[in-house]
Amino acid sequence: MTDPIRPGGDSAATIEAYGLTKSYGKPAVRVLDGIDLRIERGTVFALLGPNGAGKTTTVRILATLTEADSGTARVAGYDVVAGRSAVRRSISLTGQFAAVDETQTGEENLRMMARLTGQPRAAARRRAAELLERFDLTAAARRPVRTYSGGMRRRLDLAAGLVGSPEPGVFFLDEPTTGLDPRSRQELWEAVRELAARGATVLLTTQYLEEADRLAGRIALLNRGRIAAEGTAADLKSRVGGHRLDLVLTSQEAYMKLAGRAVHHSPETLTLGIPTDGSAAQVRALLDEIDPAGREIERFGLHSVTLDDVFLALTSNTPTPNAPTTPEASAHV
C-alpha cells in the first residue's frame, strides 16, 4: 500500500480518560458523570448505550471538539486540552451527520480536506483518488454528494476522516450506521473491519448490541453518564444470556412456578423470557427441564438479546438471570 505515512505515528495510539464530567444548560444537566476509559492501541472499542447516555459527548471530548468540565484524557499520547492540535492531527472523526459538502463532488470534498491538512495540490489529488478507490466510490467520484445514498455518504465521510491522519490512526465513529439500510450497514461494517485489520484504534458508539458485538473487541455500556459495565461481547452477553427464550405458558400456576428464573416478565400474556445461549441443544434441554410433561408451555419464541435486555439487566435492580425475584416486583419497569 502506498499510503503516505506522516511522521509521528509511532506514539502510543491509545485512548485514556479519567473522571470525565460534563454538564450542559441551565439548570445544569449532568451528561457525563465520571467516565474512565482505557482503549488499547490497535483495538476496536464500542460505547454502547441509548440516546442521551453521553456517547456523543464522550466522543466530542476525546476528539477535542468539546472540553470536559473536569477530568483528563489523552489520545495518541497527547492531552486533549494542552495538545489539542497534535490530537487533531492524529485522529479521524466521523460524526452522526455526514460532514461533507452536498454540492461538491466526492472527489472535490476529499481534495479539499487533503488541502486543509497541508498537502500540496498534486498529493491531495492522489490521496483523494486512492481513498475513493479504497472505499469503492471511484465510479461516483465526480457526482455531487447530494446524489449519494446514505451508505455512500458515510463511506465518503470515513474517507474524509482518513485524509490527513497517519495510518494506522485513531478513529472516532459516532453512531456510524444510524439511519442506514441493512445493505449500507454491512458495507460500513466491512470498511470498519478493514480499518481494524490495518491496525487502527477505533472507538465507535452505537445503540445496537449486534453492531458492537460484530465489530468491537471490548464494549462499555454507558448509562446516564456513567460506565455501567465493561468487557468483551461474550462477557456482557454471558451476564444476560445472549439469547432469550420467550415462553407463553398455559396457566397462572405454571407462570408463578417459573417466574423466578426469567429475565423478562409479562403477566398479562403469561409470557416469560429465559436467558439462553441460543443453541438448539440448550433450548431443547431447557424446554425439557422446565416442562418435562409437555403441558405447561403453550408456545415459545427465540430471539437474540436486545440492548434493552442487556441494559435492563446491567443497569437496574431488575432481575439478572441468576437473581430470582417475584414477578410482581419486576413486571413494570
Partner: protein, 277 residues
C-alpha cells in the same frame, strides 16, 4: 499512569510532547482553501447566482426609469442616472453580502464545521473564506452594474487616483458588510432566519443620500441619514466618479468600514466559539 490521574483542566496541564505529528498548514492556506470551496459551492447555486447578478441591475433600472423622473436631485447632475449609480453599487453590495449569512448558517447546521475543526481549521479561516467568496461575487455584480450604467447614460469623469479610491471604498464596504453578514449567520439558528436578519443591511442605503438628497427628508431622518455608515461611502463614490471635490469623506468612509469590520470579526469570533462549544 500517575501523571494522568484526575485533575481539573487549566490548573496543571500535561506537557505537550516535543514530537508532534506533522505541522499543520497556516491560517492563510486554510482561508484560501475555504474561499475556493465557498466560490465552488456558490457557482453551483445557479438560482442564487442569477438573482444576485440580476437584482442590482433591476434595482437600477427601476430607480432610473420608474422613479428617476420624479426625483429632484438639484442642478448638479445632468440626469438621475448620474446621481443614483453609487447608491445602486452600495445597495448591491448589501444584497450580495447578505448571502454570506445564509451560507454560514448552512455550514453551522450540518456536521461540516466539526470536520473542519477536527482538521484544526479555526473559525476565522472558515468565515474569511466565505467573506472572500462574497467579495469576488460582489465585484462581478459591481462590474455588471457599471457596464449597464454606462449603457444607459452614466458618464464617469473620475481621475485614475479617483478610480483607485472608488475601488478601495467599494472593496472595504463589501468586506465589512460580508463579515457582518457572516456574524449574523452565526447568530441565526436557521438559514431562513439568517436571510431574514440581513434585511437591515439591504435596507440601510434607503435612509441615506443614495436615492434622494437627504435635505428632503424629515429632520429626524435627515440627521440619521447624514451620520449613518452608508452615506460617507455614497458621497465619496459620487464625488469621485463625477470628478468633484470630496475632501476627507473617503477617509471617513474607510474608517467606518474598518470599524464595522473590526466589530464583525470580534463578534463572529466570540459567536463561533459559543456555537461550537
Amino acid at each position: 499512569m500517575s501523571d494522568t490521574a484526575v485533575r481539573h483542566r487549566g490548573t496543571d496541564r500535561l506537557p505537550e510532547r516535543a514530537h508532534t505529528p506533522g505541522r499543520g498548514p497556516g491560517p492563510f492556506t486554510h482561508t484560501a482553501v475555504m474561499a475556493a470551496r465557498a466560490l465552488r459551492i456558490s457557482s453551483r447555486n445557479i438560482d442564487a447566482l442569477i438573482t444576485s447578478l440580476a437584482l442590482p441591475i433591476m434595482m437600477m433600472l427601476i430607480f432610473v426609469y420608474f422613479f428617476g423622473g420624479a426625483i429632484d436631485t438639484g442642478t448638479d447632475y445632468d440626469s438621475y442616472v448620474m446621481y443614483v449609480v453609487p447608491g445602486v453599487l452600495l445597495l448591491s453590495a448589501g444584497f450580495g453580502a447578505a448571502t454570506t449569512a445564509t451560507a454560514v448558517s448552512e455550514d453551522m447546521k450540518g456536521g461540516i464545521i466539526d470536520r473542519f475543526r477536527s482538521l484544526d481549521v479555526g473559525g476565522t479561516p472558515v468565515l474569511a473564506g466565505h467573506v472572500a467568496a462574497s467579495t469576488v461575487r460582489n465585484l462581478c455584480s459591481t462590474a455588471l452594474v457599471f457596464g449597464v450604467a454606462l449603457l444607459i447614460g452614466f458618464r464617469p469623469a473620475a481621475s485614475w487616483s479617483g478610480w483607485l479610491v472608488v475601488g478601495a471604498v467599494l472593496v472595504a464596504y463589501i468586506v465589512a458588510l460580508s463579515w457582518i453578514s457572516a456574524a449574523i449567520g452565526l447568530l441565526a439558528r436557521t438559514p431562513e432566519a439568517a436571510s431574514g436578519f440581513t434585511f437591515f443591511m439591504s435596507f440601510l442605503p434607503y435612509p441615506s443620500s443614495a436615492f434622494v438628497p437627504t435635505e428632503n427628508m424629515p429632520d429626524w431622518l435627515h440627521g440619521f441619514a447624514d451620520h449613518q455608515p452608508i452615506t460617507p461611502a455614497i458621497e465619496s463614490l459620487r464625488g469621485l466618479l463625477l470628478g468633484q471635490g470630496v475632501g476627507n469623506t473617503p477617509w471617513i468612509a474607510l474608517a467606518w468600514a474598518a470599524g464595522m469590520l473590526a466589530v464583525a470579526v470580534g463578534a463572529s469570533g466570540t459567536l463561533f466559539r459559543i456555537r461550537t462549544r
